[in-house]
């Protein structure tokens, strides 16, 4: 699991059937200080996270396959929750 910021969405019509009806967001992974860490990745978003909100992303494919109800889905990343507040930050 990692922390990320919602930086956008993608739209696709020709895709694997398990993607139909799922919102797919562009997640910017963040380091412990909240800075961008690497290139953005895509994740399924069942919670409807808003732009620039911080989210917790799981990379557990089996949970994602269960969410989309397709044991043959190629999806892996899924938003597990929207972050309210992070109390503990390195350097504080």
């Amino acid at each position: 699991m990692f922390l990320a910021r919602v930086d956008g969405v993608i739209v696709s019509t020709v895709c694997h059937p398990s993607l139909h009806g799922s919102r797919m967001i562009i997640c910017q992974p963040l380091d412990p200080e909240g800075r961008d860490d690497g290139a953005p990745v895509l994740a399924v978003d069942p919670h409807g996270a808003g732009r620039h909100q911080r989210v917790l992303v799981s990379t557990d494919g089996s949970h994602t396959r269960a969410y989309v109800k397709d044991p043959k889905s190629p999806l892996r990343n899924i938003v597990m929750g929207v972050i309210d507040d992070e109390d503990e930050k390195a350097g504080n």
Partner: protein, 99 residues
């Protein structure tokens, strides 16, 4: 899943029977600059990938591809695939906070 530009195709004259009917694309994964709309710079940095395709993506398309164990999930029989095209992307709406 990551985004990438289709920059070429791979055709095989002899192949493993598991790849019967397969199409392969040469894909350049998006760096942050490509999300911002920068022109693609094929082979500029990072590896280009060969991606299994059964959706019919063409040269210049933006695709969403999965890598690793999930790439083989859609197959009925064990298939030696590292990366799979899961979506042909129509639109990318990207708006980072400080751009």
């Amino acid at each position: 899943m990551r985004l990438g530009h289709v920059i070429g195709r791979v055709t095989l004259s002899k192949q493993d029977p598991a790849f019967k009917g397969a199409r392969f694309l040469l894909v350049q994964p998006f760096a942050k600059e490509q999300f911002r709309g920068a022109a693609m710079t094929p082979l500029a940095k990072g590896l280009s990938l060969v991606v299994y395709d059964n959706l019919g993506a063409g040269l210049g398309n933006v695709i969403g591809f999965t890598e690793g164990a999930e790439a083989t999930a859609p197959f009925d029989t064990p298939t030696p695939v590292d990366a799979l095209n899961a979506a042909i992307v129509d639109e990318v709406f990207y708006a980072p906070p400080h751009a």
